[in-house]
């Protein structure tokens, strides 16, 4: 009964990371300073894991048909999302599959998020109350 949900694509630029840093209060320089990011062994500036999680959360809200539908939401961050200093930045692609319905009528969704074809989240699951 696995039902495939429509794939959603999100563009991510450096400007998005700066805006997210301010809104979330996470000013870790790996998310805005190339010099710092490479000095700690990263390929360059990477997106906040929580920003990627927020984008996948937007996809879940669209699938559920309501922005306040999420009852439970968890992910594992498996791979960084490098964001080049270009106008295009990069893309995060989010797809989902309905895994079933709980006894109390909640819908369980398994989420896949990729960047450049590589999975950036694992064990990404949401439980939603469909409106």
């Amino acid at each position: 009964m696995a039902e495939q949900l429509p794939t959603q694509t999100f563009r991510v630029t450096r400007a998005d990371l700066v805006r997210y840093a301010g809104a979330s209060g996470d000013f870790n320089p790996i998310h805005w300073s190339e010099r710092f990011a490479t000095s700690v062994g990263l390929p360059g500036v990477i997106a906040h894991g929580m920003y990627t999680m927020a984008l996948a959360g937007r996809a879940v809200g669209v699938w559920a048909g309501a922005p306040d539908a999420v009852v439970e939401y968890g992910v594992r961050f498996t791979r960084p999302v490098p964001v080049p200093d270009t106008d295009e930045g990069t893309e995060v692609v989010v797809s989902g599959v309905i895994k079933g319905v709980t006894d109390d009528g909640l819908t369980k969704i398994e989420i896949t998020a990729t960047c450049e074809g590589e999975r950036v989240l694992a064990l990404a699951r949401a439980t939603v109350r469909k409106r």
């Binding site: 996470d26 700690v40 959360g57 937007r58 922005p67």
Partner: protein, 151 residues
């Protein structure tokens, strides 16, 4: 240096209430590109049954991340934040966060483990209103990468 295992099972005193502002929710929703009316428009949120605008699902981390510094900044834990990456994140909601909420965080440590030269710590934050109404439980697993892994 491994993390101090005696932190497991410990809880910390409640944080000072964080007053959730309407503009902060709008700013956060805008930052993640979420245009849903319930995040921005109080009238739309009221129509959905809330007192004011509703926060997106991952918004609580804006509160819990600084609240959990109670734990991770304690030198006795032995965490080197320059080697830390985010491992897992989970939220379990009783209800969404709404503008006007005064939220209190109670932090505890669920688990500390070591595997493959890396150290893992899972913190749990119970977020309630200042009147004690439960809102959301937030788990974060942080990974302290092994020293030889660095750079």
């Amino acid at each position: 240096m491994p993390l101090d295992p005696s932190f497991v099972g410990r809880s910390w005193p409640p944080t000072e209430p964080y007053l959730v502002g309407r503009e902060k929710i709008r700013e956060f929703a805008t930052a993640i590109g979420a245009t849903d009316a319930e995040y921005h428009d109080p009238a739309a949120a009221r129509a959905a049954g809330y007192a004011d605008v509703v926060a997106p699902p991952t918004f609580p981390v804006a509160i819990t991340m600084s609240a959990s510094r109670q734990i991770i900044d304690d030198p006795a834990l032995g965490l080197d934040y320059s080697r830390v990456v985010h491992g897992d994140q989970r939220f379990a909601y009783v209800r969404p966060v709404v503008a006007g909420d005064a939220l209190v965080c109670v932090n505890s440590v669920d688990e500390i483990t070591t595997r493959g030269g890396h150290d893992f710590i899972t913190t749990r934050t119970e977020v309630t209103t200042d009147a004690g109404e439960p809102v959301v439980t937030v788990w974060s697993k942080l990974v302290q990468r092994g020293e030889e892994d660095h750079g």
